[in-house]
Symmetry: C2
Subunit: 368 residues, 2 copies
């Protein structure tokens, strides 16, 4: 699988007339090498690939593990007297144009590389269209996410804090030997009006909203799901908000499937493709029409090795939704001081239809 990805990369290099590429983003390094243990906090590795060489560059903290796990690439161990620059310089002559990830490489790194290679060209790698193997991994992550959510629901009780509830959910996941894809967000009551609320020590009281946004990472692939439930009977207003958010999601799904079906042609490459911004617009418009404030975030995002990756479903997005893409649809309505509702599911676009990968029931739920 990883060899195939390197082969495809080389084909693209030829096509775009690049003599080599320096990959710096952790997720693309993982995508092409299969090694997923590098931290994003610091630059711990690069891939440096041309037609006749394929290096994975890292230091002594990782070299033993890389040697064992990454047999299709040549390890270059930097550190001590050997720097990344030394290796790049060695290939200076054969590389007229070098691809780089402009969205990831820092200005400092760019300055250093520019010393040796005059022509640098943006080389973005898209992972948005998933293989069956990738979809299956995301599905398994979603399944465990559903189980963890179910477990979490059973822990909801008066007096529990946001942190405690998040802890219970995360524990469930970790007991299965699995990681989280991001720290679980739990928001009670008015806190739910902050879309990315920092889970804190707020204590749950009767008749409050409980918003849970969670994901697990299984075999490096992420799940992501949000549910908003009511601890006690919701007010009419709360019900109205909930139903509107749910309708917005359904309308987005229906619009997308209808557009796929009609073969609405949006670019010359794909007949069965829909503009992501239009899908965003449908859900957004529904919420605004009902008198609520516009969604203060994107309607959705692609997911895979990263929790957030392309395609982006937002008003300004230029992305086109195509077969094989996996993404979230997550409308939200947030009223400052009152509370918020977000409903998020993951979908895969298959045969013109959206297949939902998250299976926790999304109809209005009251927990006692």
């Amino acid at each position: 699988m990883f060899e195939k990805r390197i082969k495809d990369l080389r084909k693209r290099l030829l096509k775009e007339k690049l003599d080599g590429v320096l990959i710096s983003s952790v997720s693309n390094i993982s995508y092409l090498s299969g090694f997923s243990n590098f931290s994003k906090d610091e630059r711990e590795a690069y891939l440096f690939i041309g037609q006749d060489f394929e290096y994975i560059i890292t230091d002594g903290r990782y070299s033993e593990a890389v040697k064992k796990q990454v047999t299709h690439l040549t390890l270059f161990e930097r550190g001590g007297e050997k720097s990344t620059e030394d290796l790049l310089k060695k290939h200076k002559k054969e590389i007229k144009t070098l691809g780089i990830e402009e969205d990831n490489l820092t200005v400092s790194e760019h300055k250093l590389i520019k010393k040796h290679f005059k022509n640098l060209k943006h080389f973005p790698i898209s992972r948005s269209i998933k293989t069956n193997d990738e979809i299956e991994k995301i599905e398994r992550a979603c399944k465990l996410g559903d189980e963890a959510f179910k477990y979490g629901l059973a822990q909801i009780k008066s007096g529990i804090t946001e942190k405690e509830l998040a802890f219970e959910i995360e524990n469930f996941v970790k007991k299965n030997g699995v990681e989280l894809s991001f720290p679980t967000i739990v928001a009670f009551g008015a806190n739910s009006s902050v879309p990315h609320h920092q889970t804190g020590n707020t204590v749950l009281e009767n008749n409050q909203i409980v918003l849970i946004d969670m994901g697990v990472k299984l075999d490096n692939y992420c799940s992501d799901m949000t549910r908003t439930v009511f601890f006690g009977k919701p007010t009419e207003k709360q019900r109205h908000i909930y139903e509107t958010a749910l309708e917005a999601q359904q309308k987005a799904v229906e619009f997308l499937e209808k557009s796929m079906k009609s073969g609405k042609q949006v670019n010359k490459f794909a007949a069965n493709a829909v503009k992501a911004s239009e899908v965003d617009g449908v859900a957004r418009k529904h919420i605004i029409t009902k008198g609520f404030p516009s969604i203060p975030h994107s309607l959705g995002h692609g997911i895979g090795l990263e929790v957030h990756e392309s395609p982006h479903l937002s008003p300004k997005s230029k992305d086109i939704l195509k077969e094989g893409m996996v993404f979230s649809i997550e409308p939200g309505i947030y009223l400052e001081g009152f509370g918020g509702v977000r409903i998020e599911d993951l979908f895969v676009l298959e045969n013109g239809k959206l297949r939902c990968l998250t299976h926790s029931n999304s109809s209005l739920k009251i927990v006692y």
Copy 2:
């Protein structure tokens, strides 16, 4: 505290003849704003500061929380029709030279900013010298780390897996309502020869090495500690490796304190300061002299809002160790296929002495 930091930043802008600065790194945003909930995975915020303006730029996911928590900065909510670029453009005329974080800003962002500001200048922000308040926070993190390690030690038993042991330790931390500063590393037996081993499903057997590298994050400040213990009686060779690593640490500490005492002058600004590379050299040399391979990583690193920050104690480091700095000293000896030992403690440099902040006993420990 945060107002003071902005004030100091403005003084520096004047001194360096900059009309403004764009801060992009999450840790410096946290350092200057006090808001620490932004993710590092994506660009979720910037600070944009000049003599007459002080913006925190973020989107609707965070704006409500920022409004409440960050009262000393002006919120600019991007999204919808308002982009970061719009705000930058508004200040185009008054800014001749703009500071940027070259080690953090991406090439893409640089291109965009360059369109509006011709003169961009590297503006690194150092957080290496800590205030008493910061040291106290790190100390509290270390204290909880010590307790979690003690708890972890008690869980070591034949048949436990690396993941299970890491889980027990992390659970202990989370039950205290506290986060981890990084995923706990647990390595059994030969796995311990990989300095950053990916904690896995290896089962503990008798007479194996147990390496635990762990840290907690309390009030946004990190701890970091590594201990290597023996499950059953160590062999002579294992003992020898352990004692050598411990000696290397002690020698580094002694050298540093002696150099501080002698007032060895290394630069014109500080009489009581020592080159970080020299301290690294002392420990490294000791290990090599004893016939072991050189440490495949730095001897140590600064710590604070980030697990790894300046100063860096490595052969090529240009950093100078000064009063008020907090950093790790963590020599390691790794023999492929055999196993490894690393001993890591955090120290604060105070009155020419190194005060150790991690208190778990580091003499050779046998666990049954």
